[in-house]
Symmetry: C2
Subunit: 233 residues, 2 copies
DNA sequence: TGCTAATATCGTCACGAGGTCTATAAGTGG
DNA sequence: CCACTTATAGACCTCGTGACGATATTAGCA
């Protein structure tokens, strides 16, 4: 497969995250073919002529894992010459946020299997040495930083939660995505201050029942302006 | 110029900003050839086989405008099928910050001329209708948002200032880049609080002389953590 | 029925960042 | 000597938010 260097191969890869079993998980596929045969990798593949990069990312995610209809945002484009041993491949990477309880994994033809892997464990493993195919270790680290930032900045957590959830569940998503424990009461006060949560009943918990919330608007919205050295009168 | 759709043409474009004559300016080139002949556009061009996208952005900026050795950061990749009438061209766009007093413009072979254009006026013109070639109107709007965010987030203003500057000059860069007036005393207190400014003499101003500052470190650094719902003990 | 444990929710305090405003310092030109 | 300009400095106040304890509501159990 020789490629005209003026027209390199272009691909889209996806770092998809979900909150499952109390931890943040990333969606990986096991490669069926060379190169990196049997390695784990981020789902992704070549751009088709009739689609945008975002459409390619959605299609590859659907084809390789069965996951569709999720929040997606462009991350960055990676263009190092040696990132693919087959030749020049430029990869535009996307961040996807998935409600893990809503989707079921169906590995596609290019993948032996698709699976959620705990993010923290995987990142710790990567710190000790290469794990994923291609430059996907680096891409995953990049995606993780963006995930943390995105959660603090916009109300995108609804993408990773069922329709109805408790304040604890919301907090757990934030704690897992940002990688830090939060004071429950402070988190609660601030989350309610966003003005995007609506009450939707109660749920027994083994202790005092928890209020159930839903997102009043399932559209991305800036949660907090960075309010530095505000304007003069 | 027919292109294999599986291997589209890949280009890098640059939105370069500088603070000149009291206003934020963006660097444009006037196109010499079709399509969009004689239109103003962002500097940019096709990726060479032996370079990364960032290297291509630097090279195109240097070749078309004479500007080199500037702060550069990837913005986003645009892949709409119809963004170039010649066929499928995917453009990876970069944000560049330039010290306008340090560089001199030298238009290259692909450009009739290169010029700084006042950002606010240009954006107002864009609001009234298409102005730049291709989808560069949209890319410029995207770049402007990133510029504002970047200034608040990291100490990248040194890229747009001479070695030595006064607090007023620094504030003017922020006001022009973010598009808002700041209370001088607040700005001063907070800028000094960053801990990255060092005093370097005085300069007469027509009133009380201004303290001259320089950046103690000319490396990107986070200025303010987003401190929301901090961790529990 | 009491007691404890567990979980969620609520109230309060303190501190610091940042806004507003006023005062002072140090030049220029009448 | 005074008015004017520009930069710098201090005082004060509000508000967001981190820290911590108190209260509400269930289950389990003797």
């Amino acid at each position: 497969m020789v490629s005209d260097p003026a027209h390199p191969k272009v691909a889209a890869d996806v770092a998809a995250f979900a909150f499952l079993e109390g931890a943040m998980q990333v969606l990986l596929v096991r490669r069926r073919y060379e190169p990196y045969e049997s390695y784990w990798a981020l789902p992704g593949g070549g751009l088709h002529p009739d689609e945008t990069l975002e459409q390619a990312a959605e299609r590859e995610l659907r084809e390789e894992t069965g996951v569709s209809d999720v929040f997606m945002e462009q991350l960055a484009t990676f263009s190092e010459q040696d990132r693919d041993p087959r030749g020049r491949v430029i990869s535009c990477c996307y961040l996807a946020l998935v409600d893990g309880g809503r989707v079921s994994l169906r590995p596609g033809s290019d993948a032996r299997e698709a699976a959620w892997r705990p993010l923290e464990e995987l990142l710790a493993e990567i710190d000790r040495g290469p794990v994923l195919a291609f430059d996907h270790d680096r891409i995953l680290q990049y995606a993780r930083r963006r995930l943390a930032y995105k959660l603090e900045y916009q109300n995108v957590a609804w993408s990773m939660l069922p329709e109805r959830f408790t304040m604890s569940e919301l907090r757990h998503v934030y704690e897992a995505g940002i990688g830090r424990a939060f004071e429950p009461n402070n988190f609660r006060r601030i989350a309610l201050g966003w003005g995007v949560l609506a009450e939707a009943g109660e749920r027994p918990t083994g202790g005092r029942p928890a209020t159930i919330y839903r997102f009043a608007e399932r559209e991305p919205r800036i949660l907090a302006e960075s309010a530095r050295y505000r304007r003069a009168t």
